[in-house]
């Protein structure tokens, strides 16, 4: 029973990993572009939630949408003001630009919010439900379920809607897409918005359950890269699957071997998998 409890906890955490990683994988899939600032987007989503709760008195729905919207806008702005230009530069400039952006966002957050840890005041989402002896903390449960639904939603949007086809068209062949009347800049800005928005919601969901400080983005950024690489670069279902696996492995190894070993287990399996299947679980070779 205790083991089942551990598994449930791992999967709920993994669901949130999946959500913010799907944003990272989206940008990669669209533009072959690595966004090192992705973890910082998650961090900003958490602070936006805090601001919405503190100054507007909003509930979970309000700060969830608030974080998603604010980060969507930020993603679009970042694309239009920075990424668009560095895309023309050499590979190294592309990598360093988002790395610089990450540092800028992190230290701006330090400046504004200080290095102290904060957490959301008790929201309506508290308490625990007991399903056949398995305890599910409501914040984690809500966060996990929403994260899975949104990740699936993002996948459906990419595969089943016109906008999704247009996004994919731009990623496959920018020139051909332009000839078909698709405006690549607009599509890529949209992709950045969606990616950052997903990170923002993930941040809001994390904020319900965990305390944080401006340096939290580092941890999330790294996790996101592992999830994306494990799931296969560019694959949203891969990110979902890999996120759940990473969460599960972390929980089980923390329970069996102790918390300081959980990352060793995760990264060892990760390296082993890359060795056997470099394209990731669901990536195209």
């Amino acid at each position: 029973m205790l083991l089942l409890q551990v598994i449930v906890g791992g999967l709920l955490l993994g669901a949130i990993y999946a959500l913010f990683s799907s944003g990272l994988t989206l940008i990669w899939g669209m533009m072959n572009f690595i966004n090192f600032a992705h973890g910082e987007f998650v961090m900003l989503g958490m602070y936006v939630s805090l601001l919405v709760v503190m100054y507007l008195g909003g509930g979970p729905a309000a700060f969830g949408f608030g974080a998603a919207f604010a980060l969507f806008v930020l993603g679009v702005v970042v694309y239009l003001s920075l990424i668009r230009y560095v895309l023309r530069g050499p590979m190294l400039a592309q990598i360093l630009s988002t790395f610089g952006l990450a540092l800028l966002l992190r230290y701006t957050a330090f400046w504004i919010f200080s290095a102290n840890f904060v957490s959301l005041p008790q929201t309506s989402l508290s308490g625990t439900i007991n399903v056949g002896g398995i305890l599910m903390p409501i914040p984690q449960l809500v966060a996990g379920v929403i994260a899975i639904l949104l990740t699936i939603g993002l996948h459906l949007m990419l595969t089943c809607t016109t906008i999704g086809s247009q996004l994919l068209a731009v990623s496959e062949d920018r020139g051909a897409a332009m000839l078909m009347g698709i405006k690549p800049d607009r599509m890529q800005a949209l992709a950045w918005g969606l990616s950052a928005g997903a990170a923002g919601i993930a941040g809001a969901l994390m904020a319900i359950a965990y305390p944080w400080s401006p340096s939290v983005g580092e941890t999330f950024g790294l996790t996101a890269f592992v999830v994306v690489a494990l799931g296969g670069f560019g694959s949203v279902p891969g990110a979902l699957f890999a996120g759940l696996i990473v969460g599960l492995i972390q929980a089980l190894s923390a329970f069996w071997f102790g918390p300081i070993y959980k990352d060793i287990v995760v990264y060892a399996l990760f390296v082993a998998l890359l060795w056997l299947r470099p394209q990731g679980l669901m990536g195209k070779a």
Binding site: Q5, A115, N116, S119, G127, L135, P211, W212, G247, D263
Partner: protein, 419 residues
């Protein structure tokens, strides 16, 4: 050239400001105390709070404060054995950087010609700065750094007033023995520690003292303070079901543990937090409910209105607008012990001050802290340092142990959250 003139004026003002404290007290003879703390950077809050505490302490020594009872040097203005000489404080900022702390210690000794040194908050900075003092033969009072290895390097010139990990561990064991006497069941304990120097050394000390006191440690869980999820650890605790869980944790992780324990409906009879995370200003607002009745340690207690500690706190509050905290108070106590030794030395000669320090023997009633006294062993460590235990009652900590100092009644088992 106008810009240059402005610059000169600014520089002059800055210099004047730096020596402001000096000018105030530089009348006849003064004793220069170089103080090295993190006044900017990550630990700036602690450094600034301690600076204010040292300034209050210097005020108490330099001016007559007969209202402060048996506190040494309070009654008289200045140091009576030195014709009323005043203490002159020179603060420098090591920004939390051990190599800078080392350079600043050198500068204070060679350029500012300080007679004694004090510092340095972060153990790593105390570690490097004390080595400089040892080389130059200048007494160094370590105010509150806790790492065991600061003393015990065979140094002659380093003294430490604060309790360290083993003192805290011994206090916990004395507390357990006391509880057992009262019929509380403490068959086993668990230790949950973050896995850097701080958590590891404190946990090691507790394990060792527990062994001596015959208290079985059912489980020890080292973890990384940057963990985002700790439910697995809580389930480990649930499985072993110890009677007391001791947390040596930083801020985010201690909040996370309290929240997750509540969510997973795990409530041991008692939780003890080893200061740090449990004392962080954000701890109580975040988890006051879930952590209701959790215990913590503090050697500082404001005390009843009219008491010496209460009056000291009022002085500090008038200066900063806040209550004195455990960290700054431990620094302040070390400062008083240092001032007491300088007075007994009756001279600014470093060797005489060092000798006086080795003969320090302050009694509990002469202290502002809950130590059993101040007396340094041959390594320079205060062997009478101890701590009070406090407990979260509603939205603040109350002193609950030992009984003779307690201001509120100990609740056992802890109440915890609703879940």
């Amino acid at each position: 050239m106008k810009g240059f003139r402005v610059l000169k004026a600014v520089a002059a003002a800055a210099t004047a400001f730096t020596f402001y404290a000096a000018a105030q007290t530089n009348a006849a003879e003064s004793v220069k105390i170089g103080i090295i703390w993190p006044l900017t950077g990550n630990a700036a809050a602690a450094g600034q709070a301690s600076k204010a505490a040292a300034e209050v302490a210097a005020d108490i020594v330099n001016n007559a404060h007969p209202e402060l009872g048996d506190l040494p040097l309070a009654k008289t203005a200045g140091l009576p054995n030195m014709g009323g000489a005043k203490l002159e404080l020179i603060f420098v900022d090591h920004q939390g950087n051990p190599s800078l702390a080392q350079q600043l210690a050198t500068r204070l000794i060679t350029q500012d010609k300080v007679h004694v040194l004090m510092g340095a908050y972060q153990s790593s900075c105390s570690f490097t700065a004390t080595a400089v003092a040892e080389r130059y033969g200048i007494p160094f009072m370590v105010g509150e750094s806790a790492a065991g290895n600061i003393t015990g390097r065979g140094f002659k010139w380093v003294f430490r007033g604060t309790p360290i990990a083993s003192d805290y561990a011994r206090t916990y064991m004395r507390f357990f023995a006391d509880m057992k006497k009262q019929g509380k069941k403490i068959d086993s304990i668990a230790i949950v520690n973050e896995n850097t120097d701080y958590g590891t050394s404190v946990a090691d000390a507790i394990v060792e003292e527990a062994k001596k006191a015959n208290v079985p440690v059912a489980l020890r869980i080292p973890y990384s303070a940057s963990s985002t999820d700790v439910s697995a650890q809580i389930l480990q605790l649930k499985e072993k079901n110890p009677d007391v869980v001791i947390f040596i944790s930083y801020t985010a992780d201690s909040i996370l543990y309290m929240k997750s324990m509540n969510n997973l409906q795990y409530k041991p009879p008692m939780v003890i937090g080893d200061d740090t995370g449990f004392s962080d200003p954000s701890f109580i607002p975040a988890v006051a409910d879930a952590a209701q009745g959790a215990m913590n340690r503090s050697a500082w207690a404001i005390g009843k209105p009219g008491s010496t500690t209460y009056k000291i706190n009022e002085m500090y509050k008038a200066k900063t607008g806040r209550d004195l905290d455990d960290t700054s108070a431990r620094n302040m106590q070390s400062f008083f012990a240092l001032a007491d030794a300088i007075n007994r030395a009756g001279s600014t000669d470093p060797e005489k001050i060092r000798e006086a320090l080795t003969k320090t023997d302050l009694k509990p009633e002469q202290l502002m802290m809950g130590y059993q006294g101040v007396k340094f062993d041959e390594t320079g460590q205060n062997i009478l340092a101890a701590t009070y235990l406090i407990q979260l009652h509603d939205k603040s900590y109350e002193l609950v142990w030992p009984d003779n100092a307690a201001t509120a009644k100990l609740q056992w088992p802890m109440t915890g959250g609703k879940n």
